[in-house]
């Protein structure tokens, strides 16, 4: 079917979310229902899964996007994020273990994108500088800069804009008394590039969530001297090895001595790593379109179904919530965006007020959860996905067994509680029929220092 008035769709970002969105629209593009342009600031696709040793500013004068570090291995089982239409086994030609290293995940994500032939829609090294919306014409106006030529192009018009820029780039930096005069190195996890810089050092890690946990364990694995983790609300409480301990929040810093809120202190700290999370930064969006979120919520304000800008649902944001599910959730979000923007489905709440009410109801559920109730948040995000799937066109939505994936989450939380040093050695069953159990690696994760694709694949037990 040919159509003269093809809808013009702008996607901002070619990371996992942007790639899911391009694949979701691919058939509609072939049917000439839509025109797709994806703007990507980086030189390559894959978003935060790209590793670079560089920090700070990139060669185009833009902030380095990646917070990725060497020796990062997945901190959740691959079975709960696997693409429905493109399995790990399909990509690598053999079954792989449940916790792959970064390079394997990157290869998998871009492998599907390559197979989908969607690179042609992406304008690399192109930064979106401004997005506005005309309430009369119902058109978005987008200003972009070609970072290679520094040429700015204004007033590109689109019927829809989909923001897929991620939210793990701009550090959240709380203030601590004396930290600006600390005589050793201070860095945010965004600038952490690997544990080998900290061998033999006494580290203070500030934070109580995934980054703090993973960087502490990696630094232990590679030989840090001592690791003190300072939490804001409550300790993670894992069975830490002897050289890792958890203490309350930093109160003040004097020289290399750190004082904590419980009156205790630690001396001779060499380095402070702030694992204090990230800020959303959508400064390129006009004020009236700008998603703001001061903390990382499962049910963010102002995004209906976690996606559509409440005040103007022609605008969508992907992957802006706190995430337990990742790649497969982005796929479902992208499919719903496509279904809504093409008019294939209509969302239930047809006014701004109703959309806000719907969000508020879900937020109440989030607010009742204790912050360490991992199973509760997993139930919440599983139910969120169930609702998204129910909103999509049932003939095309990717389907998987949500109860099985949620059970996988539960096992993952329990494995970590059992042992923070061995949970990555555990094996999970696939959530797709015939529910095959993943093989394991012949080397335990704590001993395995080869995180290359070849090294990883060769370490997998043949069944």
């Amino acid at each position: 079917m040919t159509q003269l008035n093809r809808k013009r769709i702008a996607i901002i970002g070619a990371g996992p979310c942007g790639l899911s969105q391009l694949l979701a629209f691919k058939q509609a593009e072939q049917d000439q229902l839509v025109e797709l342009i994806c703007f990507e600031r980086q030189a390559e696709w894959g978003g935060l899964w790209q590793y670079t040793a560089l920090t700070g500013t990139d060669s185009c004068g833009e902030p380095v996007h990646s917070s990725m570090y060497r020796y990062l291995w997945s901190n959740g089982p691959k079975e709960v994020l696997e693409y429905v239409d493109y399995t790990f086994e399909q990509h690598f030609g053999k079954p792989i273990a449940s916790y792959p290293p970064r390079a394997v995940l990157y290869d998998y994500i871009v492998g599907r994108a390559k197979a989908g032939d969607i690179r042609k829609f992406i304008r690399f090294r192109t930064a979106v500088r401004h997005v506005d919306f005309d309430d009369e014409t119902k058109q978005f106006s987008v200003t972009v800069e070609d970072l290679r030529t520094h040429k700015t192009t204004s007033n590109l018009t689109f019927d829809h804009v989909i923001v897929a820029t991620g939210h793990y780039t701009i550090p959240n930096m709380p203030e601590f008394e004396g930290i600006d005069r600390f005589p050793g190195r201070v860095l945010h996890s965004h600038d952490y590039r690997g544990a080998d810089e900290f061998v033999g050092k006494n580290l203070l890690i500030i934070g109580g969530s995934y980054s703090a946990e993973d960087i502490a364990v990696q630094c232990y694995k590679y030989g840090a001297g001592s690791i003190t983790i300072s939490y804001r609300l409550f300790p993670m409480g894992f069975k830490w090895p002897d050289s890792i301990r958890e203490v309350p929040l930093v109160q003040r810093i004097e020289g290399r001595t750190i004082h904590f809120r419980d009156g205790t202190s630690v001396d001779n700290i060499d380095c402070i790593i702030l694992c204090t999370g990230y800020r959303h930064n959508h400064s390129y969006m006009a004020d009236k379109l700008r998603f703001r979120c001061s903390s990382n919520l499962y049910i963010p304000f102002d995004l209906y179904k976690g996606i559509f800008w409440v005040a103007e649902p022609r605008l969508a944001y992907l992957g802006m919530q706190n995430q337990l599910y990742t790649l497969n959730m982005f796929d479902i979000q992208a499919v719903l965006v496509r279904d809504v923007f093409l008019g294939c489905v209509t969302l239930p709440d047809d006014t701004r007020d109703k959309r806000h009410q719907n969000i508020r109801q879900l937020q109440v559920r989030e607010e009742t959860l204790k912050l360490d109730d991992h199973e509760g948040f997993s139930d919440l995000q599983t139910d969120y996905l169930r609702d998204l799937i129910n909103c999509c066109d049932p003939t095309t939505v990717p389907k998987f067994d949500l109860d099985k994936s949620n059970a996988g989450m539960y096992k993952f939380f329990q494995d970590k509680r059992d042992s923070i040093l061995t949970y990555r050695d555990q094996s999970f069953p696939s959530i797709f029929p015939p529910f095959k159990q993943a093989p394991v690696c012949t080397t335990a994760w704590i001993e395995n220092k080869d995180d290359s694709i070849a090294g990883y694949l060769s370490s997998i037990e043949t069944v």
Copy 2:
């Protein structure tokens, strides 16, 4: 004299240039000729002279402005930058040596500002987000964000805008093959915070100018293992100590081995420090007002008299050139800006074309200079200052003996050629009558590891 139509003046930045500009306008403000507002993104004044251990992003989500590091001492004699109306001796109550450490310079700069009672004009933690100009009303329109409340205020109008934001914040990052996979630490000098992180390490420093020179010598002083400096155009050629050597530009990086363009290589590099300069970044200025400069020129394009935006001289930029002179040059620039904006003097070239021609003539002189002709550049900037002074109202312009200051520059270059490790131990005469010789420190710079104000002042020989 009271005037109903006070000119509204916006100054962007409260570093050395912005402070010079506030002081220059102070009398006119008291006479109610002008209204002054200075917008400063940081929490304090003093611009790049503020030290913080933090790198990356600050607590407001803004890029950390400072490129300042521990143990930085002035790399030029204080006599060639001293304020005419506020001497070091006046500030510290005694004569001081010619090369003070950072804290001393910071104290001196903000000391004058305190004495001048100009803090009341500064809106701290306020980022300028956009500046535009209406050709009909001849008014600038300024959008600012209060970084504490995240409240944005648009359409503040001004008769004049003066940009004093500096150009040592956004790193210039050339690409080198393999650097993104270097297994050690890679940082730009912007993120360098002190040599003690590099004790015993083998360093590669890329760059051929002041940052490369100073960081190399500081790392030598504090005990780096070896220092290889890789230059782009030509070596600095100082009489380096044995552990420092200069090599041609990096060609490619493989693991910890660095290959250079002359076919040589060096192994076992632990850390790469890019001393590759900075980029101008005035992205908050509307396109038609935006100063762009890809390299650090003594005679920049588009700035008439090095200051006034050629296309619209109601807009001024301070301190945007490559600098040999600093604090005293900013004062003269600021006085000329005041004289012109208040209508006390008229600049000779009254059309855009004539202004461009004037710049072009000066650029031709800059272009004839070889890049290592330090004396030639000093002559060029001395003549530039002479011309600025001649443009100002002669009754109020700060005057000093330019030949004496230029002679100081010459001596400084020769001292460095004589010995890069001892040039900071030399003493200079004041350029103000009675031309007193500065005292010296009792400890040689290479031995002196106390860079506090108290330590420095107590180390000065009593004459």
